[in-house]
Symmetry: D2
Subunit: 118 residues, 4 copies
């Protein structure tokens, strides 16, 4: 696992990529959120008929597709953050901290319930 994802550099490259192809007209936040959701489903599709156990060790070809779809989701996520000027790392830290508060260990232990049902 790489230590870090260079979000700023990826955002710059994606912006340039879109500008060069005159794709900025298509890149409203609404459309990017749609594309991101479509890619997330393509990722899910790879696992849809596998058992949970099977999903732990995907076949080599499936793994290649998983990597591509994960990358697609990540690229659209960075693009969306860039368009809306959202600090991705700060958003992640804030949400993780919120999850720690919402799911205290003694309540959440072994349960898959949502925080408001615990």
């Amino acid at each position: 696992m790489t230590t870090a994802l260079d979000v700023q550099r990826i955002a710059s490259r994606l912006a340039e990529f879109a500008r060069d192809r005159d794709w900025e007209q298509f890149h409203s936040p609404k459309n990017i959120a749609t594309a991101l959701s479509v890619e997330a489903s393509e990722l899910l599709e790879i696992f849809q008929w596998l058992t949970e156990e099977q999903s732990k060790e995907p076949a080599r070809e499936a793994m290649e597709r998983v990597k591509e779809e994960i990358a697609d989701v990540q690229l659209y996520l960075v693009r969306l953050c860039d368009l809306l000027q959202i600090d991705l790392a700060a958003a992640v830290d804030a949400k993780f901290a919120a999850n720690v508060r919402k799911y205290p260990v003694h309540k959440a232990r072994g349960s898959s319930k949502k925080y408001d049902e615990l």
Copy 2:
């Protein structure tokens, strides 16, 4: 925009978070891919009735929700990479390079067609 996302640190914290709550039993790659797709839809839901123009400047409350859903997607993405031992930054670089090849500027300019229809 932050310069970098500390993927390794986030992965470690998520793994500890799951271990502490005995949630590893729920965290098969299949389930995480499902949860990721559900979060991507919750992100999309915020934009669903907005026009593309409106989506460029979401109301303040909508922006707070956007940040939370973006973070949820990012957290599950890192968790999935950790479970399947995927190098997220390498996957992103490889996919971006593939996109540059698949969408040459002179062919893709101003078109929203898929690469295999260009």
Copy 3:
């Protein structure tokens, strides 16, 4: 537009289709709900880069794909109802009635807000 969808006949044919192929092992409600969501995304994908106006008159080829994806969603929906013994028509009637209550004309007029924000 056809007047009616013969839900019972479709359910029977799908059950037989699965039985003949020994696919019942894959058809847990969880998996069918996943497949349904994946198909709904494939439907959305057709519209993702179109403007709202363009989406009102899809090109002929796009229309063919729309019909196929709509059918896929419908087939999984009937299959899921059959597996869980849900009366689809009754569920639809109940939900429509609930929507009428949740969105009174004088409050909802011209607004895309959710009922709990009206």
Copy 4:
């Protein structure tokens, strides 16, 4: 299971519902496809942390939510067909017949592979 879904009547009621609330402005096929996909994800969310076995007998409260989300998907599906003048029953029949051709029993038996990998 009801024998039939009165598609035409549902379409008429949905059209009137939208007209009365001045919601036609929001109901482009693109937006309806988005809403449908969001509802399909809300349906999936109910099952996301259940095992396949558990999903076969959802708790009573979960079943109520399943019915509501299934109805939401069905309502948007009919609305989309109405907007694009698609004959839902004909589309379903055509797709089912195509599936029978694509997945011959002797090839598909016991396999969850896609038709182009069989």
